[in-house]
Amino acid sequence: MAVRVLVTLTALNEATHIASVINAIRRDGYQCILVDDGSSDGTHKISASLGAQVIRHAINLGQGHAVLTSFKAALEEDCDIIIEMDADGQHDSSQIPLFVERMQETGADIVVGSRILGSNYANAPFFRKTFLPHFTWIINRLTGYRMTDAMCGFRAFRKESLAKVEGVLDKMLEPQYGAAEMFLRFARAGLTVEEVPIDLKERASGGSHKGLVRYGVGVLRAIVRVLADKSYRHLR
């Protein structure tokens, strides 16, 4: 039986890129859900006209919250694997089969894309090269996972595994820095993680909405808050 894949996108003011991203996903034969996180540039209208199922946040909550909303919606859909991708065109939907194959080979609950293992990592920005391995090292030490890139937004989740930890998602304290918190909680819940190398495409225009220093401090704060949280300590 063919594996049913559902792609989830989260977007904030991505009207210039979203059409090419959704068209590529649809061309590759995948269903697509887009969470519009309070865009004011018509991102939701373009997405809906291209056949994506659109969920709109009335105001901007941040990418982490949009990801959680996309998970909730995906869990109500008919699918086996949920792929999370960025909507800015940096992730290539033609690499989705790599995630699916890896998940089927290993039986992992989550497959994470690794930019570090990708062929174009040498061209990565200075800050990513400097801080990403350190943040990943901290998360690996706390979770027991062996990832090379814990912060990549290109990930695959087995739906049944995500459904098992749905309650965990509601308890997240810092969804804005979700990567760190999610892995801590998922490791505690016993979910397994594997990686695939991915190549990032150049961002056509615009920039990340995350400030690097603020993001770094936020990730560390999220780790401390989660470790101190009662719902995390009692999670098994």
Partner: protein, 115 residues
């Protein structure tokens, strides 16, 4: 009790503030906790304005040289407590707002799917 312009001013001002807070309680435009905090504050200020000798006593007990240091110290503590309380409430409200926005988005999504 020695009445000076400054003590008279603070007494009248705190009495006006207490009346104002009661009028807001009557109109239900202030919550119970906030009303309690502000009433205590203005009652305290009014009390020390009417009996300034008590302020001298409190300053001596706190082993401070000048009354103004004691007043400033108390004011700083009260302000810190108010700011802490407000920031906790804001955090709570933000979390509630996030939940409402997410729930609303999901409700609309489910309705659109059905319709």
């Amino acid at each position: 009790m020695k009445l000076t312009i400054i003590t008279a001013f603070f007494s009248v001002f705190s009495a006006s503030m207490i009346i104002y807070i009661f009028s807001r309680i009557k109109r239900e435009t202030i919550g119970f906790r906030s009303a309690l905090v502000w009433l205590s504050l203005w009652l305290g200020i009014g009390f020390f304005s009417i009996f300034p000798g008590l302020l001298d006593w409190a300053t001596r007990v706190a082993q401070m040289e000048l009354r103004i240091f004691f007043v400033l110290l108390v004011a700083v503590f009260i302000l810190f407590a108010i700011v802490f309380n407000l920031s906790s409430r804001l955090d709570r409200m933000q979390r509630n707002l996030e939940r409402v926005v997410q729930e609303l988005a999901m409700t609309n999504y489910r309705q659109n799917r059905r319709g």
